[in-house]
């Protein structure tokens, strides 16, 4: 019939090649991350030598440098990395599940939900500190729950989910504007912090809980990697391939939402990171795979690089959220125009 030709092993060979390429890209990105991280550790109001920074990190007590590195720069690098990683993965997961490059938690009300809850807690309830962060997380998760509830009635469709998110986002924007309207002048600056992300004032102690949540949610998403791949095939094939569609989707979305809202709770909304990372990962990898880890790493890079730009490129210091927002706007436009060229 047909001979046992060297045709067997094609799939495995191809798959191995693609994996190798992915790892190489990952290593490359990690290299860039190292450069960015080192840069942010060395530079600041005072420039320290690599030797000094290394000694401080190893535990030596050096005045000035010790404070700068441990209290300001290292937390900034670590929290920034986690935040970018987190947003990147959240955005990528949403884009893959909803099969739409434009669908990201920032436009579907998740980030707005977190911001609105935080602003509400601060301005209306007068709370502050950790509880505001928890409320932000709760806000984002509640929005997600509402969206899922509404879109899973009758027949689920990703379009329903996207549109519901958009509608809720528009409403939440109005709510945020309204709360800010009613706030006393005194508190405005605080409120603004929640509308634009920033790494200022992050501390090492913020790291442990945050890091734990990020790692946990990322682990869940990675565990469902295969399901995520198959959900990209539409609504019907995953069912016939034996995927527990409802369950997988729920785990994936809630993990992404917790990543997104949780990060917003720590750093404020870093707009555009979620939406850019997944898309960029897809363009770089070009394999139609899920690219979860790559998206996360790209997110981390985006945040660190934006932070560096924000701190040093201009005469005024801009928080990282501003820079990512500025990058995001033209990126979005190019994306929209490009999408059209493909489908037009």
């Amino acid at each position: 019939m047909k001979a046992d030709t060297g045709k067997t092993g094609i799939t495995e060979a191809g798959s191995r090649n693609r994996k190798k390429r992915e790892l190489r890209i990952l290593a490359f990105m990690f290299g860039i991350w190292c450069i960015a991280a080192v840069f942010l550790l060395l530079y600041g109001d005072q420039v320290y030598s690599p030797g000094t920074v290394l000694r401080v990190l190893l535990g030596e007590e050096i005045r000035g440098a010790g404070y700068a590195v441990w209290t300001i720069r290292l937390p900034r690098v670590l929290v920034g990395t986690l935040a970018g990683f987190s947003f990147g993965i959240a955005g990528n997961t949403f884009q893959k599940i909803l099969r739409n490059a434009l669908a990201s938690p920032d436009v579907m009300g998740i980030t707005s939900g977190a911001s609105a809850a935080a602003v509400f807690a601060m301005m209306v309830l007068g709370l502050s500190g950790l509880i505001v962060s928890f409320m932000a997380l709760a806000g984002g998760v509640t929005v997600a729950a509402v969206i899922l509830l509404i879109s899973q009635q009758k027949e689920f469709s990703v379009n329903k989910m996207i549109l519901t998110g958009i509608g809720i986002q528009a409403m939440l924007q109005a709510v945020i504007n309204f709360i800010i309207l009613k706030t006393s002048d005194y508190n405005i600056a605080d409120a603004l912090r929640w509308l634009s992300g920033s790494l200022n004032g992050v501390r090492m102690r913020d790291l442990s809980l945050f890091g734990f949540i990020v790692i946990l949610c990322t682990a869940v998403i990675l565990a469902y990697e295969r399901e995520l791949q198959i959900l990209g095939l539409g609504e019907e094939l995953p069912v016939t391939l034996g995927v527990n569609v409802k369950g997988s989707r729920r785990f994936l979305i809630y993990s992404a939402v917790i990543l997104c809202a949780g990060t917003t709770a720590v750093t404020g909304p870093l707009s555009s990171v979620a939406f850019m990372s997944g898309h960029l990962a897809g363009r770089i990898l070009k394999t139609g795979g899920t690219g979860t880890v790559h998206a996360g790493l790209i997110g981390a890079l985006l945040v660190l690089i934006s932070e560096a730009v924000g701190q040093f490129a201009f005469s005024t210091r801009y928080p990282v959220g501003v820079i990512t927002g500025i990058i995001g706007a033209p990126y979005l436009i190019c994306l929209l125009a490009g999408l059209n060229r493909k489908n037009g």
Partner: protein, 283 residues
């Protein structure tokens, strides 16, 4: 010597099935048995319930009433993965994720056999390779699926279903958007599959004549009810076509395949048979 799997025996049937979407009932009360290891085609005009029937059997739609039984058990009683190893589907317009390679897409079909944290095993790779070979798409293994032609793409999708190693395969209008060349090619490939692997194939086709040629068994639906069932030779006749499609026709033999061949009779260009029918007293 065929390597790989050969389909197991199964009994798949519907008992007093009531099915539809949302609140709309399309199939009222249908009972039928899918012939095992055969090629079955479901025919009928638009809206008669063919797609609904197929999707209910492919477990995309839960029955509103009655039962669909696989080896005596309802789908809901079986674990999803187990079912996925027995029943596969090629939907009407499947989505191609951007940038995915042919071999990766086909590999998706191995999901029902994969463990949580394990990657692709030797068996998985072998199944994918075999599927590619059988469908003749091995040469495209590292190409993007969205670069392929319609016919090639369809072969890739069938290869994915093949890699799934199911005993039963449902196809929803697999040839509707293809050129005639590819239509015949795909149907021949499916026949190959049926003969070599004994896969039970159930499909909805829009072309009556191709249905009559390729089907071992036909289910003819009309308005949510089973109008007739049987082999093409048994049931395809002028009355059936009139009943199911409301089309006046002349049924002859396909000179190439010796299966029933339906020639429609419209208002014009029906001179030859029209006169003959008139003389026989048939309006």
């Amino acid at each position: 010597m065929e390597k790989g799997f050969t389909s197991l025996d199964h009994e798949l049937k519907a008992e007093h099935l009531k099915a539809g979407y949302d609140k709309t009932v399309i199939i009222e009360d249908m009972s039928l048995v899918i012939p095992d290891h055969k090629i079955t085609v479901i025919i009928g005009s638009n809206g008669c319930g063919k797609s609904t029937l197929l999707k209910t059997f492919a477990r995309l739609i839960p029955p509103m009433g009655g039962k669909v039984l696989l080896d005596g058990k309802e789908y809901a009683a079986m674990p999803s993965r187990k079912l996925a190893q027995i029943i596969g589907l090629l939907p009407q317009s499947p989505l191609v994720p951007e940038g995915i390679k042919v071999s990766d897409l086909i590999a998706r079909g191995r999901y029902p056999y994969q463990e949580v944290f394990r990657g692709m095993t030797k068996e998985d790779y072998a199944a994918v390779d075999e599927a590619m070979d059988m469908m003749g798409v091995a040469e495209f293994a590292d190409r993007n699926v969205d670069e392929l032609s319609g016919g090639q793409r369809q072969r890739v999708w069938i290869a994915m279903a093949l890699a799934q190693e199911t005993d039963i395969l449902f196809l929803d209008e697999p040839t509707t958007y293809l050129d005639i060349t590819y239509q015949v090619e795909i149907l021949d490939l499916l026949t190959d599959l049926n003969r070599k692997k004994k896969t039970t194939i159930v499909m909805v086709l829009h072309d009556i004549n191709l249905s009559a040629r390729y089907a071992d068994y036909l289910f003819a639906l009309r308005k949510g009810k089973l109008a007739a069932q049987g082999t093409p030779d048994e049931i395809v006749c002028r009355e059936l076509i009139q009943d199911v499609f409301r089309l006046d026709s002349y049924v002859t033999r396909d000179p190439v395949s010796d299966s029933p061949f339906i020639v429609p009779m419209g208002k014009y260009h029906s001179g030859v048979r029209g006169k003959k029918n008139a003389s026989r007293g048939i309006p």
